[in-house]
């Protein structure tokens, strides 16, 4: 018979819409509105998993997100498989495949259960006390074994095809939790017209009202009040209602993070996202997240079929499912009586055991007696029967002094236990509020606030329904700045409980296993052992026993653990204190936090106007910061070396064309432009004539090189500054910082023009001939247009700032044209250059050519610890300037001391050997390790033009070692080199001035 434990009536499920999914391959039938947990229980399935350490059989404990044991792997199709899903949170739908975890070979027969037999050895922290001998066994034997047994589900193995969304949102009032308190808070705030967001983790708003089927509000059934309230909220434009949305993180300044499960409950979501991250900046926050029921701590309290009492009530009333036919409720408080009443009303066999004496009980006692339920007051629970399903609860009377009378076994197939309630203060605590302990409620409540928030309802220890509704309304109104208040009439709630830590027992507490943290298998005796060993801080107990460190983060275990520790130390609960509440409230998918920043949208891919052309030419690209830069242009059959050799030769002999658009460009404009340049660069700028260029060097205040680049004076009050590709944002920020905070009086403005201008570098003896027919308004003759000059005019009819500069040592032009015209101009030059053998070249060739000339590259020759003199550029420093950024630091002792690493050239004895960049340099390769290292190779290439390998390096006092032999590390050992001048080609620089 399908769904043997489905009650014939009741529940909010849709009995006309059956759903089928599989659990470990077996088909399970439920109805639309079921959770996987309720559907499993409807079919009498309780055994769903194996515990983390002892691999004990485990069932469903809770209906809610605090479920510690019923964790399933869920398969929603290829690439959509994820571990550790709480059965209570996953909504049942057609086609879902669920699997139990952490067992081998099967759920029923798991050899891991041998750990259960060895449990006397496997106490808390046992692994710190052993596995130390022999030393190598830890890595090779013990740890692999521990790792294999640990973990729960399997990590996903393939990339996730689902889409994840992100939404920054703003509202005046954010209400967390749509139970009675949250609903009235949202109502009150919404009526003021302010923007309200109401979020609830459940598929349906309503909270406890969804299963408090007998309650009445303002004279009508709670369900009616609920639908009327939801109708009003839905009708209001200023309200956003978010079901299936968990508020998981409360960050600075009311920045609250919510995770919305958008389509996990839908069979085929189309293009809609799986989940969405809401980043809400709220004016005010109302925390109405309710509270968590505490399990009872007694021997073998972890058997499948033992649930929280309120969860039994939820499965009965909300899902129409009987978790068992003979239910024993064990409690120390009143709320379990309501569950017992509903179970009785559903025709189930019910017994209730209450630790409290009759005198300590309230009106709930008489109500349950009147319903004909057997009640054993003044009784404790000392154990349970059954292995893969509970078959009995062992109880015993207990006297004032805690001594137990004769044991009695109550046969049952389900237990509902309740050890009291703990307000959910996680988000309040994350908001940095201070908690205050309430003796009467035996709980920590929100105390002093640090941010603009307030709590209402069970989240602050208020359990009576009328009071909860009133408190919610007041909180919502106040949050919206309204002083309207409203009270409600409602049927009374059965409240009040007697705090209990470990239940009194007649057994030896150091022998029996009474579970406190179900998922991490932490027992009461583990916690007592920790305290005995000197772990007195609650943080120490948590880390030593791992209680509260599982995926439920202690929602059902923290207070019991804290109570046991306080008892051992003879302190009050506040005397011991709580561990820190940290985001997330419940686990959040990585994908949700990542949102759309995946694949091509992980990072912007910056390309230049010439990118497509280069791709068409078969270029390979390299990443430089966020840019893609053409690396080299291999022809058929060429590897990088062959291609670069060809490209280098073409530039030296004919003409090469190179895309330098990624260079940073800043327009420095204003009457004080030259003065500003004087202060920020090492060079002099006041006398630079209009139309001339200078190679600028910029330092940080600590004297080390920050960036370099060619600067042209466009006008007396305007400089065109170029920076390195990687340095562009850094240099602009560096300049703005000094301008605004140190020299606000200077009249000068900075504008980034990096992407206004594309830069076509044309380098080689034939460069001038190629562009001559294309350029108008500029006399290209050497006399009129010398090296390091800039002229404005047009090329192919497009306005240009034509620089005569060279990073290759050849006659060179850098043709700056507005970006959207760049491709057309490039193609025109490409055409004109065909008869001169024009060849495109990439960054690799650029590196080789500039190294042949001994030009440095920021970030390769420099690494943030290199001064101008180190790289032989001290000559660029303007002697006359009294100050510039970094100058004072150049006078510091260690900067002027000898032994600094200086730029030199290195030539290998074997001209064919190309050294590794980053290779270390020593004078004596025979010295013992650790060897004295003199420096490292910064740049190293095969130089076609020198037909040998060349390298640049930074070597201690290198300039004094010209002609001397040194030794450089290679993968095999060392290679001998000779120190030379770093300029390998055309040292007199005739070609550049052609």
């Amino acid at each position: 018979m399908a769904q043997p434990f489905r009650l014939s009536r009741g529940g909010r499920i849709d009995r006309t819409r059956p759903v089928r999914f599989t659990f470990n391959g077996r088909t399970v039938e439920g109805f639309h509105g079921d959770s996987v947990a309720s559907a499993l229980l409807a079919n009498g399935i309780h055994l769903v998993g194996r515990s983390f350490k002892y691999h004990r059989p485990r069932g469903i404990l809770s209906h809610g997100p605090d479920e510690p044991s019923a964790l399933l792997s869920v398969d929603r199709g290829p690439g959509r498989i994820d571990p550790n899903n709480r059965a209570s949170v996953v909504e049942a739908r057609d086609g879902l495949k669920t699997l139990s975890q952490n067992h081998w070979p099967s759920l029923e027969h798991d050899i891991g259960a041998v750990n259960d037999l060895l449990s006397p050895v496997f106490v808390a922290g046992f692994y710190y006390k052993t596995f130390m001998w022999p030393r190598t066994f830890w890595d090779k034997v013990y740890e692999p074994f521990i790792r294999a047994a640990a973990g729960l589900g399997k990590a996903p193995a393939v990339p996730d095809p689902d889409r994840y969304a992100n939404r920054h949102a703003h509202c005046d009032v954010l209400v967390v939790g749509a139970g009675p308190a949250g609903l009235t808070a949202a109502l009150a705030a919404a009526r003021t017209g302010k923007r309200v967001i109401l979020a609830d983790e459940g598929p349906e708003p309503g909270g406890a009202l969804l299963h408090d089927v007998t309650a009445e509000i303002d004279g009508r059934p709670a369900a009616e009040w609920l639908s009327a309230t939801l109708a009003e909220l839905d009708s209001r434009e200023n309200v956003v209602l978010l079901p299936r949305t968990t508020a998981f993180g409360y960050y600075n300044h009311n920045h609250v993070a919510l995770a919305e499960r958008v389509t996990d409950h839908v069979a085929n979501p189309g293009t809609a996202p799986r989940e969405r991250l809401w980043q809400v900046r709220a004016g005010e926050v109302v925390l109405a997240g309710g509270s968590h029921e505490r399990p009872l701590v007694f021997a073998d309290n972890d058997r499948p079929g033992i649930l929280l009492a309120e969860s039994v009530r939820v499965f009965l009333n909300r899902y129409g499912v009987a978790p068992g036919r003979r239910i024993v409720f064990a409690t120390s408080g009143a709320s379990a009586y309501a569950a017992a009443l509903d179970a009785k009303a559903a025709g189930l066999a019910v017994t209730l055991v209450d630790l409290r004496t009759e005198a300590e009980c309230g009106p709930e006692l008489a109500r349950l007696k009147a319903a004909g339920v057997e009640i054993l007051t003044g009784h404790t629970v000392v154990g349970s029967k059954g292995t893969k399903r509970v078959t009995g609860l062992i109880v015993a009377p207990v006297d004032r002094a805690g001594r137990c009378g004769p044991r009695r076994v109550l046969d049952c197939d389900c237990v509902g236990m309740s050890g009291g309630w703990t307000p959910a203060v996680h988000l309040f605590s994350q908001s940095r509020g201070k908690l205050a302990y309430d003796e009467r409620l035996d709980a920590f409540l929100p105390g002093t606030s640090a941010q603009a928030e307030r709590s209402a309802g069970a989240a602050k220890g208020t359990y009576d329904l009328a009071e909860v509704l009133k408190e919610g309304f007041a909180a919502g109104a106040a949050a919206a700045g309204s002083d309207e208040r409203k009270s409600f009439t409602a049927s009374p709630t059965l409240t009040g409980f007697k705090p209990v830590r470990a239940m009194p027992t007649d057994a030896d507490p150091t022998k029996v296993r009474a579970f406190v943290d179900f998922q991490n298998d932490v027992t009461a005796k583990d916690i007592k052992l920790a305290v005995r060993e000197g772990f007195h801080s609650i943080e120490h107990v948590k880390r030593y026993t791992t209680t509260g460190m599982a995926t439920d983060q202690g929602k059902t275990s923290n207070m019991n653990a804290l109570g046991i520790v306080a008892g051992q130390l003879d302190k009050t609960l506040p005397g011991v204190g709580t561990t820190t509440f940290r985001p997330p409230y419940t686990p959040v998918t990585f994908g949700t936090l990542v949102g759309p920043a995946r694949h091509a949208l992980f990072d912007p891919i910056r390309t230049t106007p010439i990118h497509e052309w280069a791709e068409a030419q078969g270029a390979l690209f390299e990443n430089v910061a966020l840019w893609r830069r053409a690396w080299y242009f291999p022809k058929a059959g060429e590897d990088i070396h062959a291609a670069v050799a060809r490209e280098c030769e073409a530039v030296r002999k004919g003409v090469g064309i190179f895309d330098a658009s990624t260079l940073g460009k800043i327009e420095v404009v204003g009457p004080d432009a030259a003065e500003f340049m004087n202060r920020i660069y090492v060079n002099p700028w006041l006398k630079l004539e209009v139309g001339r260029c200078r190679y600028g060097l910029m330092l940080k205040e600590d004297g080390y090189i920050l960036d370099d680049g060619v600067v042209a004076r466009i006008a007396p009050d305007c400089f065109h500054v170029t920076t390195t590709t990687g340095g562009a944002p850094r240099v602009l920020a560096h300049m703005e910082d000094y301008l605004q905070t140190e020299w606000p009086d200077l009249k000068v403005f900075l504008t980034s023009t990096t992407e206004q201008w594309a830069v076509i570098a044309l380098q080689g003896p034939k460069a001038r001939e190629v562009i001559a027919p294309l350029v108008d308004g500029i006399d290209l003759s050497p006399a009129a247009f010398p090296h390091m000059a800039m002229r404005t005019g047009t090329i192919c009819g497009v306005p240009t700032r034509l620089f005569r500069v060279s990073f290759t040592g050849e006659l060179g032009f850098e043709i700056n044209v507005p970006s959207d015209h760049a491709k057309a101009v490039w193609e025109a030059i490409w055409e004109a250059g065909q008869r001169h053998g024009i060849t495109p070249y990439g960054t690799e060739t650029m590196h080789v050519l500039r190294a042949e000339k001994g030009y440095i590259i920021i970030g390769q020759e420099t690494d943030g610890t290199v001064t101008p003199d180190d790289v032989g550029l001290a000559g660029m420093i303007a002697k006359a300037k009294k100050d510039f950024v970094g100058k004072r630091s150049l006078a510091r002792p260690d900067v002027v001391a000898s032994g600094r690493k200086q730029l030199v050239g290195l030539v290998t004895d074997d001209p064919k050997l190309v050294l590794d960049e980053g290779a270390q340099i020593v004078d004596d390769p025979g010295q013992p390790i650790p060897m004295r290292m003199l420096g490292h190779v910064t740049s190293s290439y095969w130089s076609p033009n020198c037909s040998r390998s060349i390298a640049m390096a930074l070597v201690a006092d290198g300039r004094a070692l010209q002609g001397r032999p040194l030794h450089v590390t290679t993968p095999e050992g060392f290679a001998q080199v000779t120190v030379v001048d770093p300029v390998f080609f055309d040292p007199k620089g005739e070609r550049i001035h052609a």
Binding site: F52, T130, F131, M132, P159, G534, R598, G726, A919, H936
Partner: protein
């Protein structure tokens, strides 16, 4: 102190584990000690341990304002490596790594040091160059660090995607096989137990409020929330709080304290065999023995003592992790937290004397302090015992910032041409 071993564990198992006794005492502070260590984290406790075991100085107190191991020791991502570039750093971190290799046996406390390897991925030509520079420098400093092709990276750490389809494709990596991880809490507890057993007083819930100095200006004791405690020498090992403690002796430091966040995923079966660090996307990841992916990245951008940071740091960190390991996109974040890391201008520590006589400081470890714990404790114990630095920590002076003799490990790695 009962000795830990399989036999003692089995015998106690039969007697309900009643015989273990306390791992460290909870003594009342004595009026004075030869050495007072301010800060009960891994470095402070290690200092006390080596003072006792190496230098025979046991009239020592470790003052901790909260619970031992509660600061950065309990908040880091437990990565241990010594493949640093400069000779001074290489010597310091290798000294620590050698001590790690025998630490469980030395302390008779399983700190679960596992040499599963740390692999630094190169995503661009600059990374390749920078890592090779490290590999060669490490070779000449006697530190194991080898350059791997991307195929070898994939072989060593199968979850890595070398298909080249990533935004920043993996070009290769630098692997230190002797590097790995350890159980951070156990390091603090192991050192505490060892020091306590040799007579060192570990005094928790004891916050230092002032440093008392004599007429000559020499430090002679500390004011605490549990009364005044005299000291022959004071060693400040307070990490993120160093500036505030040193200010009590009018010593201003080149330090800024930032929140450093980290997070763990839900526990899963073994899937990630080693530690992977990636500079270009700036994140690092390993899997703990309990099965959680342990993930960290950079600091927040402003100074803070709140041990909390912004959500955008977490999302940027996970962007990076899911870019390099797309298969982890469906994993769930279980918990995120923050520490307070004290950062120096050159990202290297300060271990040695201060301008105030009898006052010594060990700080500035920034985001990389856990890996140095044994080495830091050992050399600082030498400094406190002898009054002058050990050869290994001699370069890490406070004065280096005046002379410009910086040891800037971060600069070498970060600059992209």
């Amino acid at each position: 102190m009962r000795r830990f071993s399989l036999s003692s564990l089995l015998s106690e198992s039969l007697k309900g584990h009643r015989g273990w006794g306390r791992q460290w005492r909870d003594p009342q502070p004595k009026p004075a000690y030869d050495v007072v260590i301010v800060g009960g984290g891994g470095h402070g406790l290690a200092t006390a341990y080596y003072l006792a075991t190496v230098h025979g100085i046991t009239n020592v107190a470790v003052l901790e304002k909260g619970w031992i191991g509660g600061g950065n020791t309990g908040r880091n991502t437990t990565i241990i490596r010594s493949n640093y570039l400069y000779d001074e750093s290489a010597a310091l971190y290798e000294h620590a790594l050698k001590l790690w290799e025998g630490l469980s046996q030395e302390l008779n406390y399983n700190v679960m040091f596992s040499q599963r390897g740390v692999l630094m991925l190169a995503h661009n030509l600059h990374d390749v160059q920078s890592f090779k520079r490290h590999v060669y420098a490490n070779r000449l400093n006697g530190i194991d660090n080898e350059w791997l092709t991307k195929e070898e990276c994939k072989e060593f750490c199968p979850p890595i995607d070398i298909s080249g389809s990533l935004r920043y494709p993996v070009l290769g990596g630098a692997l230190q096989r002797r590097a790995g991880t350890a159980r951070h809490d156990a390091v603090a507890w192991g050192y505490a137990r060892g020091a306590d057993a040799r007579g060192v007083d570990i005094i928790q819930n004891c916050e230092v409020k002032g440093i008392r100095r004599d007429a000559s200006g020499a430090a002679i004791g500390v004011e605490t929330t549990r009364g005044y405690i005299g000291a022959g020498r004071i060693g400040v090992v307070a990490a993120g709080h160093t500036s505030t403690v040193m200010a009590m002796a009018d010593v201003r430091m080149p330090l800024e304290s930032y929140p450093l966040q980290a997070l763990v995923s839900e526990p899963v079966k073994p899937v990630f065999p080693c530690v992977v660090m990636s500079n270009a996307v700036h994140a690092y990841i390993s899997q703990s023995d309990k099965g959680e992916l342990v993930i960290g990245a950079g600091t927040d951008q402003y100074t803070s003592y709140s041990q909390q940071g912004g959500l955008h740091i977490t999302t940027h960190t996970l962007d990076a992790i899911c870019e390099v390991f797309p298969q982890f996109t469906r994993m769930r974040m279980l918990r995120s937290w923050g520490g307070i890391v004290d950062v120096t201008p050159d990202r290297s520590p300060i271990i040695g004397t201060t301008p105030v006589a009898n006052l010594f400081v060990n700080c500035g470890w920034g985001t990389g302090g856990f890996k140095a714990t044994p080495g830091s404790g050992h050399v600082f114990a030498h400094t406190l015992a002898t009054g002058s630095p050990h050869a290994i920590n001699a370069p890490f002076t406070l004065d280096r910032f005046r002379t410009g003799r910086l040891i800037d490990e971060a600069a070498a790695a970060a600059v992209a041409h």
